[in-house]
């Protein structure tokens, strides 16, 4: 496997054959709902729906999703805590509405992160990048990003293997050695990236690189039913949130 759990999940997801546009619709709809709707019950509902869709119909492994959700949690916790600690003339203390403010911030952030993850764990980046053309992102930029996507796995493998080789020869025993090894590792991966680019250029020349990196677009047809269900679901979620919040 590639070693990036979210990417592995995206390729294996039951939603992989769905049109990226459809998945962007439901995920971004949820992201905006998480941001705009009142935290109770809006964010809670968004979080539940995102997790439910990912683990249910999209069949993303719960372990992968759980681990991925944990990544931003440290930032969210420290950030929220910092916000509600008050620094005033009287020293440090809790803000008067600490619980509510922290709850709101954590709610929006966790729900939003879960909604982004729904997209990330069901849609490989390489499906998403061509869709950026509709946002008038130039083809050259999309091609650069696509090469980035392909090449990062090659370089990630190099990074891990070289680090393992360094570790075997005690490269990370002690702080000073660790820094020296990290510097050498970064330099090795950087020169490797240049070498890769040069060799890829040679490798592709025979198939006509001079006209750019055009390939046959993959057609993942949109589903009207899926889109209608997404819009209706998002509308219902909004309605419920607004009614309950009032």
């Amino acid at each position: 496997m590639s070693g990036l759990a979210i990417d592995d999940a995206a390729w294996a997801s039951a939603w992989r054959p769905r049109s990226p546009g459809d998945k962007v619709l439901v995920s971004l709809g949820l992201v905006f709902s998480a941001l705009l709707l009142p935290v109770w019950p809006g964010s809670v509902l968004v979080g539940l729906v995102a997790v439910g869709l990912a683990l249910g119909p999209a069949r993303v492994p719960a372990r992968t999703f759980g681990r991925a959700v944990r990544a931003p949690l440290a930032f969210i916790a420290i950030g929220a805590l910092t916000t509600v600690v008050e620094v005033g003339g009287g020293g440090v203390g809790w803000a008067p509405d600490a619980a509510a403010r922290a709850g709101s911030l954590v709610g929006h952030a966790v729900a939003g992160s879960a909604a982004v993850l729904l997209l990330a764990t069901t849609t490989p980046l390489s499906d998403l990048l061509p869709a950026l053309q509709r946002l008038r992102v130039p083809a050259a930029v999309i091609e650069v990003a696509s090469v980035t996507y392909r090449m990062l796995f090659v370089l990630l493998t190099s990074l891990r293997t070289i680090r393992e080789a360094q570790t075997a020869r005690m490269g990370y025993a002690g702080l000073r050695h660790s820094y020296r090894s990290s510097g050498a590792l970064a330099a090795a991966v950087l020169t490797r990236s240049w070498d890769r680019a040069r060799r890829l250029q040679e490798g592709l020349a025979g198939r006509g690189l001079e006209t750019g990196l055009r390939v046959l677009p993959e057609t993942l047809p949109a589903s009207r039913r899926f889109e209608a269900a997404s819009v209706l679901g998002l509308a219902a979620l909004t309605a419920v949130s607004l009614v309950v919040a009032r």
């Binding site: 496997m1 590639s2 990417d7 592995d8 390729w11 490989p124 980046l125 390489s126 696509s146 090469v147 996507y149 392909r150 796995f153 090659v154 890769r196 060799r199 890829l200 040679e202 490798g203 592709l204 020349a205 025979g206 198939r207 006509g208 690189l209 001079e210 006209t211 990196l213 055009r214 390939v215 046959l216 993959e218």
Partner: protein, 282 residues
């Protein structure tokens, strides 16, 4: 795909170094015949293939396709590449796309073919290399052997008359080597001429109709059993004599194998041995 004769004549490459990599190398790729290009690491095998493919312009000498000389102009190279394709040793040097099918489509799309034709060629190439089941898989999840076959499919989708492969079996286990050779046979049946470079003399003897040994900047071309039985040449080329020739020659001298061409692999040799000793000893 018509059959064309690809040839390099008096190729000189790397003249600014003290010793040129190729120094007057000549090679003829006869249509429909299996040619193995042999040589030690650094002998210039890859350089020779790159010259023949048009990827590298030799300092001197010429590359011809049915007598017509390759010109290193945009149009000249474009025409040449439609007839001759080179597959590099490391598949990661050729796979730039995350999706297998898209990577294979790169060449046909650049030929400005209509979409239906591109799809047909991709499907055909994936089928010839037996990798149709990988079409939807991301490149970075494939094994080394799978990536090698997909890289070959990318070249095959250009429907070349001559397919040049640099070490297509390097790093593959015996079963994967067998699968790769079977795929090359299918390509031949689909009317491509296949040339592979290797330093595995046993494989070359078994597979090739003809071998070309790259040595001291030149090329010695001929029948596998003759060229690979020439110990002086092999020593100069830093290659070993195939075991089948060593053992076969001895068994022939003992009268245990019939005269003429020696068996090329273990199974053929065992099959050619008499049922009991001394039968052919006369």
């Amino acid at each position: 795909m018509s059959h064309l004769t690809l040839a390099g004549t008096g190729l000189v490459v790397g003249y600014d170094r003290s010793r040129p990599v190729l120094d007057g190398a000549s090679l003829t790729v006869a249509p429909g015949r299996r040619l193995a290009v042999l040589g030690a690491n650094g002998s210039g095998k890859t350089t020779l293939l790159r010259c023949l493919s048009g990827a590298l312009a030799p300092a001197r000498g010429r590359v011809t396709l049915d007598g017509a000389e390759l010109r290193h102009t945009r149009a000249g190279l474009r025409a040449h590449r439609q007839a001759v394709q080179l597959v590099l040793q490391d598949p990661d040097d050729q796979l730039f796309s995350a999706s297998v099918a898209q990577d294979v489509s790169f060449g046909p799309v650049n030929l400005e073919l209509p979409e239906a034709e591109v799809r047909a060629r991709v499907a055909e190439a994936l089928d010839l290399l037996s990798v149709t089941h990988l079409a939807g898989r991301p490149t970075h999840q494939l094994s080394y052997g799978e990536r090698k076959r997909v890289a070959i499919a990318g070249a095959v989708a250009m429907r070349p008359c001559v397919l040049l492969l640099d070490e297509p079996t390097a790093g593959l286990d015996p079963t994967a080597v067998g699968e790769a050779l079977a795929a090359l046979s299918r390509l031949q049946e689909a009317d491509s001429t296949v040339v592979m470079s290797t330093h595995d003399v046993d494989l070359a003897l078994r597979w090739a109709d003809e071998v070309a040994v790259v040595v001291d900047g030149g090329v010695v071309q001929g029948r596998p059993d003759v060229v690979l039985g020439d110990d002086v040449l092999l020593a100069r080329a830093r290659l070993d004599r195939p075991w089948a020739l060593t053992v076969g020659a001895r068994l022939q001298a003992l009268g245990l194998l019939p005269g003429g061409a020696l068996p090329r692999d273990a199974d053929a040799l065992v099959a050619a041995l008499p049922d009991s000793p001394g039968v052919r000893a006369c």
